[in-house]
């Protein structure tokens, strides 16, 4: 076991040497991997932060319940009391037809014209504010259906279209993130396999000699696998640094914006597990690319 670990440590050292011997292409590929991994990482942070922001946005959602013309103030009051008892309703505000008319007069500036009307044309309105934890599109839809079925209700309107739209947009960005990640992962595979290809060509003679004296393909492959994984590791590390830099630069202006809206929102950077996932992805892609590249070239160097 110790001998085995020692052998791997030696190979690791020699592949560090390999990378150091081609600093140009190594730096290049580490840089490109860094940027390539940083892009989806940043997009991911954008979505994650946007989701946190939108979860703060209750209060925005409410249901406007317009009652039928014949419903009296007492009936409206008892309906409101019954609704507040529902688990998914947080609060019910009654806007009587008189209040509504007064408000409308004030806001519209049609005061005199409205005075001329023989009767108040406006219905009584119940503004229903749902419980925050019920503020999910499906549950709200459910509430809306039930409210519409009440006999006293003329019209029920959900004022959440913008929240819904926001969620749809986030979903879209998530989808785009997956597609983008796959494409960029392919790019990383190509970059690493190209650097590995150069490393193999550099050591073509050595590979042939090792084969002639009885080295297995597995033995030959090992330093290149380490090489690829190291590139992935360094690239991932660079991506994490780039992302931290972006978050650092964007945090103050976003903070100012959040304060303007009276929000305690703070831009979140990468957590430790998220950083580790980036590292795992980088190392994994590096391994995959070098495995593929070495396999292809060793087969091409047959027979020897």
């Amino acid at each position: 076991m110790r001998a085995y670990l020692l052998r791997h440590a030696q190979v690791l050292l020699s592949s560090i040497g390999q990378l150091a011997r081609m600093p140009g292409s190594t730096l290049m590929s580490v840089g490109v991997i860094g940027i390539t991994l940083a892009l989806p990482g940043l997009l991911y942070l954008l979505v994650a932060n946007a989701e946190r922001v939108s979860s703060e946005w209750h209060g925005g959602t409410h249901v406007s319940l317009f009652l039928r013309a014949g419903v009296t103030a007492e009936q409206a009051q008892s309906l409101a009391t019954a609704l507040v008892d529902r688990a998914d309703v947080n609060q019910v505000r009654i806007v009587s037809s008189e209040q509504a008319l007064a408000e409308f007069k004030e806001l519209s500036g049609f005061g005199d014209a409205l005075d001329a009307l023989p009767a108040n044309p406006l219905p009584t309105l119940l503004v229903i504010i749902p419980e925050p934890r019920y503020e999910q599109p499906e549950l709200l839809e459910q509430l809306l259906v039930e409210l519409r079925s009440l006999t006293a209700v003329e019209l029920a309107q959900l004022d959440m279209e913008w929240v819904q739209r926001f969620h749809v947009i986030l979903k879209l960005i998530r989808r785009a993130l997956i597609v983008l990640s796959v494409l960029l992962a392919l790019a990383v595979l190509l970059i690493v396999s190209n650097t590995i290809r150069l490393a193999i060509l550099n050591r073509r003679e050595e590979i042939e000699i090792i084969r002639l004296i009885g080295g297995t393909d597995r033995f030959i492959r090992r330093p290149f696998l380490y090489n690829g994984m190291l590139q992935g590791l360094l690239g991932a590390w660079m991506a994490i640094v780039l992302i931290a830099l972006c978050v650092h630069l964007l945090r103050p202006p976003i903070q100012v914006l959040a304060n303007l809206y009276g929000s305690a929102f703070r831009v979140a950077g990468l957590s430790l597990p998220e950083s580790l996932i980036i590292v795992a992805i980088g190392v994994g892609l590096g391994w995959l690319a070098s495995r593929w590249s070495v396999g292809r070239h060793l087969r091409a160097m047959q027979p020897t």
Binding site: L6, I213, G214, F219
Partner: protein
């Protein structure tokens, strides 16, 4: 040790480098493989190390039927054969020590054992003091000795040398040949491809002579 039966080798370009070669070399024997340039000497040695595959016939080396040897087994088979090349095939970015150690590293021999065996091999070829040098700083004869040390460090039962003295002057090349003779006296089976008749007369060993891919003289096989 080595048995060829009706072996032919046709290269992909259609050139027939070896035609119906049959011979036997007994264990612990030594033979010279001679012939003009292009006669097929290197090709024959490459068939023994499976660098090339025969297109016809049977080859048995060290009790293994090479025609049936699966691809995966080739590396392990090659560890039983020490090969010396005319152009040495040394790694120029590694020290003499690391070059000689390579076959041991490849087969996973431990650190201490490697050091011991490398020094023993270097001692045999008379290069003990030069293990830290790089091959480029050595003379041609010394480089060839490094190649020999690398070939024997694994203590293979069979040693093949493809024109090992091609670039050396007479005295150096005699020394190299004596070295092979010594290994043979220790019990190693040896085949040396050469076109210098002088060595054959000096060491008085059986000869396999190739001419245009045919075996025209077989002094090695018994009977």
């Amino acid at each position: 040790m080595i048995r060829f039966s009706q072996v032919s080798k046709r290269y992909p370009n259609g050139h027939e480098a070896l035609r119906r070669i049959s011979f036997t070399l007994e264990r612990q024997h030594m033979a010279f493989l001679v012939g003009h340039s292009g006669a097929g000497k290197s090709t024959l040695l490459k068939l023994i190390t499976l660098v090339e595959r025969s297109t016809h016939g049977q080859i048995v080396v060290n009790s293994r039927n090479l025609v049936k040897l699966p691809h995966r087994q080739i590396p392990y088979f090659r560890r039983e054969v020490g090969v010396i090349f005319q152009d040495h095939k040394l790694l120029h970015d590694r020290t003499v020590f690391d070059n000689v150690a390579l076959p041991l590293v490849v087969s996973g021999v431990g650190h201490r054992e490697t050091g011991r065996r490398v020094r023993a091999a270097l001692d045999k070829v008379g290069l003990l003091g030069k293990e830290r040098l790089y091959p480029i700083t050595l003379s041609g004869g010394e480089q060839q000795r490094v190649g020999i040390a690398r070939a024997v460090v694994n203590r293979p039962p069979l040693l093949l040398a493809d024109e090992p003295t091609g670039n050396l002057d007479a005295q150096l090349s005699d020394e190299i040949m004596d070295l092979f003779h010594q290994f043979n006296q220790y019990g190693v089976t040896v085949i040396i491809a050469t076109h210098e008749r002088r060595h054959i007369q000096r060491l008085n060993k059986p000869v396999l002579e190739l001419k245009d891919g045919r075996l025209v003289h077989d002094g090695a096989s018994i009977g």
